[in-house]
């Protein structure tokens, strides 16, 4: 066991390969109908977005409310590339990631001068501007949305149903989470956190604040772009501007806040919980926004570090007690 642990510590990707194998068997063993595969794909897409949002908001502390705009950029890059050039998933995914990264730079530039609620307003404007731009241009098939975006196929095997597309979304999710883990656990993650806590002190400690802020925005934009492309190609392959409103933004925020801002698992736990709750409360759709708003407020009030921080705290206190033999108040 000890040896296994040290191998995982040195080569973390082994843990991800194991997770990959386990998740690959989930549809055939656990799921009872196709809808659950579809839901799982949604969860994976949300995990990718939330993991990215956690980098810029949770770790780097830059309050961005325009993230759904970047998600839309990813989706519509994939959608329009298919619509006008007939390109497939394997080409649109990398292009969507790159294009969204550039939008991430644009979204990040205001963070040089603005912070807190002011930055939130600026990014909210940015996100909404992107949505309105898409909605009001015939180029993007505004009111009808883009439909029949094809699912990817690999060596003759077409991932054309939800239980097959599951594997695509799962792969993207695992790679994204792997990258987010390695980034956040390294010195880069620490630099992000120091900027969140105190930019002036971070600068005096040798951290290039502007560079790291923009880096956080680019990274999270790339995550959103990848998620957007996966979402666009998801069967039945239909995207519409109404899927990228402030409501979706609140949902993404609720994920990160509930999971734990600045906790490495934060976005992931939150995305799983919120997506499932969102699905189960569909009959109460009138109250869903109310529920998510309340979730954010109550989590910040009573569990400021989210579920992730809550669990951490429990284990930390246990360890502290064991080490020092005293109760930590």
């Amino acid at each position: 066991m000890e040896k296994f642990k040290s191998v995982i510590r040195d080569y973390p990707f082994i843990a991800f390969i194991i997770a990959f194998v386990i998740l690959a068997f989930v549809p055939s063993v656990v799921f009872t109908d196709v809808y659950q595969s579809h839901l799982a794909t949604l969860i994976f897409v949300n995990i990718v977005v939330a993991a990215g949002l956690n980098i810029v908001k949770g770790y780097c502390g830059q309050v961005t409310v325009g993230h759904v705009g970047l998600f839309a950029v990813g989706s519509y890059t994939a959608g329009t590339l298919f619509l006008y050039l007939g390109l497939g998933f394997w080409v649109t995914l990398p292009i969507a990631i790159i294009v969204t990264a550039f939008f991430g730079v644009a979204m990040g530039i205001p963070s040089f001068r603005l912070e807190g609620p002011y930055l939130a307003l600026a990014t909210l404007g940015g996100g909404e501007a992107i949505r309105l731009f898409i909605e009001n241009g015939n180029f993007f098939r505004s009111t009808f949305g883009i439909s029949d975006i094809p699912t990817p196929s690999l060596m003759g095997f077409n991932f054309d149903s939800p239980d097959r597309y599951y594997f695509i979304s799962m792969t993207v999710m695992i790679i994204a989470v792997y990258f987010s883990f390695s980034i956040l656990r390294s010195g880069v993650g620490r630099a992000f956190m120091s900027i969140r806590e105190d930019p002036i002190c971070a600068a005096a400690a040798g951290i290039n604040v502007k560079k790291y802020k923009i880096l956080a925005f680019i990274l999270s934009a790339m995550f959103a772009g990848a998620a957007g492309a996966v979402y666009a190609h998801m069967p039945p392959g239909y995207i519409h501007p109404n899927n990228y409103t402030v409501i979706e933004m609140v949902t993404f925020l609720a994920m990160v806040v509930l999971g734990g801002l600045g906790h490495i698992w934060g976005g992931i736990i939150g995305a799983i919980v919120i997506t499932i709750v969102y699905d189960l409360t569909r009959p109460l759709y009138k109250y869903q926004l109310l529920i998510f708003g309340l979730t954010i407020v109550l989590t910040i009030l009573f569990m400021p570090k989210g579920l992730g921080g809550f669990i951490d705290r429990y284990f930390l206190e246990k360890r502290f007690k064991k080490k020092t033999g005293t109760e930590k108040t």
Partner: protein, 265 residues
């Protein structure tokens, strides 16, 4: 000279917070900076470490580099570290992460290695952590490594800030009131740790401090600021007897005749 300023000036609107200060500091010296509140001590620190931009005509040189208009993170990478009067602790990070973030300028790997998560990264990260734990146990905070910095007591916070500033192995360490708010016993303890660290890392120190006993006992030389100007410089003994210093700090020294007059009114 490790640090040299020429005609260093800074004005906020009409207020001259720093007025044409020439300052020189050789290696391995412990320099104390004293002066009344608002005399420009902290402004001096902020100018040297690049947090403020100095006025045109100023010149700052550190270890052979012209750092007059260099951004703070680059100045830090030349080996200049500082602490803040208001600590600026990373409250929501663990103690060990606080110290490790101070290591930033010395992190050996590149960003893309970190993204890919190569083995070498985790080896180096572990080595950094070990080194930083050593530093933490040196200042006596090893038991608290996994706690949030906000959970430490006032004295422990001072030690943590010190450890974080040392983590980058600076050539010059500037301490802004390291002992403010500490009890006399803790002050002695802190100064002992600072002296040990100086020996261990071969530091040059600048210390702003209001506790004159600390300055007089530990510093090789003292600079006195008043109203943004340097009014005296020399060994502690010289400075103590300097009339301008006494006037700025304690009020004017009066002879008997003046005293009688003042009391009669």
């Amino acid at each position: 000279m490790l640090l040299k300023t020429k005609q260093l000036s800074k004005s906020f609107g009409g207020l001259k917070a720093m007025n044409k200060v020439d300052f020189e500091l050789p290696k391995n010296e412990i320099r104390g900076i004293i002066g009344p509140n608002g005399s420009g001590k902290s402004t001096f620190f902020n100018l040297v470490s690049g947090i403020y931009d100095s006025d045109p005509g100023s010149y700052i040189e550190f270890d052979g580099h012209d750092i007059t208009f260099t951004p703070p993170h680059e100045i830090a990478s030349y080996g200049l570290s500082r602490t803040f009067q208001l600590l600026r602790l990373y409250q929501d990070m663990t103690v060990i992460n606080n110290v490790m973030s101070g290591y930033h300028t010395r992190v050996p790997y590149k960003f893309f290695d970190a993204v890919i998560g190569r083995k070498k990264i985790w080896d180096q990260e572990r080595a950094i952590k070990e080194e930083m734990m050593e530093l933490l146990s040196f200042v006596g905070l090893a038991d608290y490594a996994e706690l949030n910095a906000s959970e430490l007591s006032g004295g422990q916070r001072r030690l943590l800030v010190l450890a974080r500033a040392i983590a980058m192995k600076p050539k010059l360490l500037m301490l802004d009131e390291p002992a403010a708010g500490l009890s006399p016993v803790n002050v002695d303890n802190l100064m002992k740790i600072i002296m040990q660290l100086k020996e261990k890392y071969g530091l040059t120190l600048i210390i702003i401090e209001h506790i004159l006993k600390v300055v007089m006992d530990t510093c090789n030389s003292v600079t006195v600021f008043d109203h943004g100007q340097k009014i005296a410089e020399g060994t502690p003994a010289q400075v103590k007897d300097d009339n301008a210093v006494i006037e700025a700090y304690l009020g004017k020294k009066m002879d008997d005749e003046e005293m009688r007059k003042a009391l009669a009114v």
